[in-house]
Amino acid sequence: MPPGVEESTPRVEVSLVTAHGLAALITLLASLAFGIVAAIELLLPDLFGGVSWLSWGRVRYAHTQGVILGWLGNVFFAFLYHAVPILSGRPVTSAPLGRWLFALWNLAVMVPGWILVLAGISQPLEWAEFPLVIDILAVAGLVLAAIQFVPPFFRRGVESLYVSSWYVIGGLVFTLLAYPMGNFLPEVVPGARGAALSGLWIHDAIGLFVTPLALAIIYYVIPAASGRPIYSHFLSMLGFWLLFFVYPLNGTHHYVFSVIPMEAQISAIAASTILGIDVILVVTNLLLSMRGSGFIPADVGLRFVATGTVFYLLVSIQGAVQAQMAVNQTVHFTDWVVGHSHLAMLGFATFAGAGGLVHMWQRLPGVRFNSRACEWSYWLLVTGVTMMVVDLTVAGLVEAQAWQSGAPWIESVRAARPYWLIRALSAIPIAAGFIALLVGVTTGTRRDVPTDARDVAVDLRGADRLRPRVAPATVEPA
């Protein structure tokens, strides 16, 4: 154990970090492949000659479930195995439990989920496409995750929780509540009533699962990589509680101008506006915490995270704007929204996840790390995401204009085609970026020094401290 690190710094389950990290990248590449197939099928619908398991609807189901559960789920778990012991000062609950969780999540949820969806056994609910039997296993996985990662915080003195810890606890607990609501209830609550619940889940999936865990990574990596504490613990906690208050109230904004009571729609639009303002607060705090790291930080993990933060700001302001009725009536149902969700999942969450992955890989003993490949990955992904989101945003406006004009429906399809081509081409830098990321964590020099707790030395803790303070001297491993 390096000097300067507390005696109590617990063991990090390195094998579980690497297992989830690699599973994350493999499921990411599979999800990417589904996305590319769907993007190409919009241009060449007869490419696969009507083979049912490759038809657009089914690969679309597989794409989103793969991204949220496979890639983000695994990368979050990898991060938690790395960070929870450091944040809480305690080991995770149980290593054997971790092996069960890994097997359950990947071999009982992801693989069979994909097979069933492609075989035509699924449910037609957004961000909930895996069939009910898989949902039960996924909930079991979330329960195991909560057992694995939450108790260490309880066993430690809770008064000194860092904001990342709050996001981890909040994300895991709330997802456990929200997932069954979105996946089970619409099957028994019909029509418009079920849609109201689905709307909530669509936003809870991003707001109560993806965002908290992605923010946990961002809040963790910034001080750990830069060696400086977060700008304001007070602002980070204020942001945390505001997010958890307003995020769940956003969902109905997916069904504006529907038959769902107008009061509910307007409440959700108001909550979306407050959320946008809150995210400005959160991101301001994060950006201020990165002062001195440069506009494009030299540390590639921090660079991913910094860009993810900027994407988070953009996507949240965009979300607040497009929830407004005047905007929503035009852009809803168009590719604008598809661009928005890619800015959230591929921009914000994926950059946070990739940043976390790169950050911990640099610090894991016994793994290979290729910094050059990770830098390539960063630039390719920035290019791809920007290309795709800008393209889809314009496509949405073009489609909306075609619809408003009253022209025959097919005109909007014809008008979208060039934009769909650019979107499909954006898959080239994105795919190259993800492959580079995989190369980055599987090639290069192998780290031999067991330095699992190196970044503990950076002051991450101290939620009780309500003002910024200078970090104690960073202690390098011996």
């Binding site: 099928e41 919009l42 619908p45 000659g49 009507g50 083979v51 049912s52 038809s55 657009w56 609807g57 089914r58 189901y61 035509g120 056994i121 449910q123 037609p124 957004e126 809770v158 008064e159 909040g170 607990v173 509540l177 209830l185 619409p186 099957e187 609550v189 019909p190 029509g191 418009a192 009533r193 079920g194 849609a195 619940l197 689905s198 509680w241 958890f244 208050f245 769940p248 109230l249 109905t252 069904y255 504006v256 529907s258 038959v259 009571p261 509910a264 409440s267 959700a268 009536q329 809803h332 149902f333 590719d335 929204v337 619809w403 408003q404 009253g406 025959p408 429906w409 399809v413 009780d464």
Partner: protein, 414 residues
């Protein structure tokens, strides 16, 4: 930090934890449970007493629709927006969705909304469209669902039949409820007489789809076309898949459709007839309406159709032949085609496909004889060879052709 402060923070932690879960529960109550109660109450008060649910086949079809991700391109939710209503019809009411387990509202429209798909297309059209979408709609990006068929669109498997049966249920309950149902819903709604109520209940017909054929309907008399090139392009893009590029009714889609698409080359159509069929479509056939096109474009299409006619003038038949034809016509044809040949005989109400109006369209002599000898597949027009001899068939063919006004009197002709 003192122990007291630590304890207080621990308390705060518990309060915050409980409060946090409270936030989630609050969201579910405010935006899930409470709207659900309102919608349930609306459904109870506004629904017809015994709304038609889904049959077993229709329910199976719904499962096919769900598993193929149809809802990810086709929404089933017409919003309270003029643009939505103009294109698809009355906005979706809560009671219409009461059998949707789970809902299929969707959040992206790549294809059109399907909330009111019922009665818009024929089963033939759906089968061909599912089997090979681009055979009908060249620029469609819909996947081809080959696995629902035994190798050809005319051989749908049970799943395809179920799916098409399901599509026919979309919007059905509200149309069946009729004006009484609308009045009942409006009363039950107990909603303020505001803009939204106006949108919800004052849209007639409930299904406003501009592609839906209608048996009777006013139509604008198309102006004379100014742009023959535009007409040819529109015909190639919209009509040729069924009617063929030269209008012979031999497009790639033709063989799967019953009745077959009209052979435009062996007919002459008045501009009035073309205005009617382009605006209203042809009920009972796969000819949809084209009301989503501008009148200018429709008149260009009509002119393009007229220009495809290859009907040659024939030697005028003798008075005796016309007289014989008239007698045969009066004895056999008037129940459907009407005493004066306008296609409005007394039996028309019983027929799915409108009988030909001989005053607005004229088939070539050969086509007329063929129709009488062989009948028209997919319509009630039977073969007449067992009832009429060759002379009578020839005579009645001449007679019905003579009902078409002389070319010089036809409207819209240059």
């Amino acid at each position: 930090m003192s122990i007291g402060a630590g304890r207080a923070l621990r308390m705060a932690y518990i309060v915050a934890g409980v409060g946090g879960i409270g936030f989630f529960l609050m969201s579910v109550v405010l935006l899930g449970y409470w709207p659900g109660r309102v919608l349930e109450e609306q459904t109870r008060r506004m629904s017809p007493t015994m709304p038609l649910g889904l049959s077993v086949s229709e329910q199976r079809g719904r499962e096919v629709y769900a598993r193929e991700g149809c809802a990810y391109c086709h929404t089933q939710q017409i919003r309270y927006l003029d643009a939505d209503i103009a294109r698809f019809g009355a906005p979706t009411l809560a009671w219409e969705t009461q059998f949707d387990y789970p809902h299929l509202w969707g959040t992206r429209r790549i294809g059109p909304d399907l909330s009111r798909a019922s009665g818009t297309r024929t089963a033939d059209w759906h089968y061909l469209h599912l089997y090979s979408p681009r055979t009908l709609v060249p620029d469609s990006v819909m996947p081809a669902y080959r696995s629902l068929f035994d190798g050809m669109p005319e051989r749908p498997r049970q799943e395809a039949r179920d799916l098409v049966a399901y599509l026919e249920t979309l919007g059905r309950a509200r149309e069946l409820a009729g004006p009484e149902g609308e009045a009942h819903a409006r009363e039950g709604c107990n909603c303020p007489d505001d803009h939204m109520a106006h949108m919800a209940f004052s849209v007639t017909p409930v299904n406003g789809s501009p592609t839906r054929p209608r048996a009777e309907g006013n139509y604008p008399m198309l102006p004379a076309a100014a742009d023959p090139q535009r007409g040819k392009e529109l015909f190639a893009a919209n009509c040729a898949t069924c009617h063929g590029s030269s209008g012979r009714g031999d497009g790639p889609a033709a063989s799967a459709l019953v009745p077959r698409p009209a052979n435009l080359a062996e007919h002459r159509y008045s501009f009035d007839r073309l205005s009617d069929v382009l605006w209203n479509g042809s009920v009972g056939t796969s000819m949809s309406a084209w009301r989503d096109h501008t009148v200018t474009d429709l008149s260009a299409m009509a002119a393009a159709v007229q220009s495809l006619s290859m009907v040659e003038p024939v030697e005028a038949p003798s008075e005796a032949i016309l007289a014989l034809g008239g007698r045969v016509y009066q004895a056999n044809c008037i129940q459907c085609h009407g005493t004066n040949g306008d296609g409005r005989g007394t039996a028309v109400a019983e027929l799915t496909v409108r009988p030909t109006d001989f005053r607005r369209q004229q088939a070539s002599l050969a086509a007329s004889i063929r129709a009488i000898r062989e009948g028209m597949n997919g319509t009630r027009m039977a073969p007449w060879t067992d009832r009429l001899n060759a002379d009578e068939i020839l005579a009645v063919a001449h007679y019905v052709r003579s009902l078409y006004p002389d070319a010089s009197t036809r409207a819209g002709q240059p």
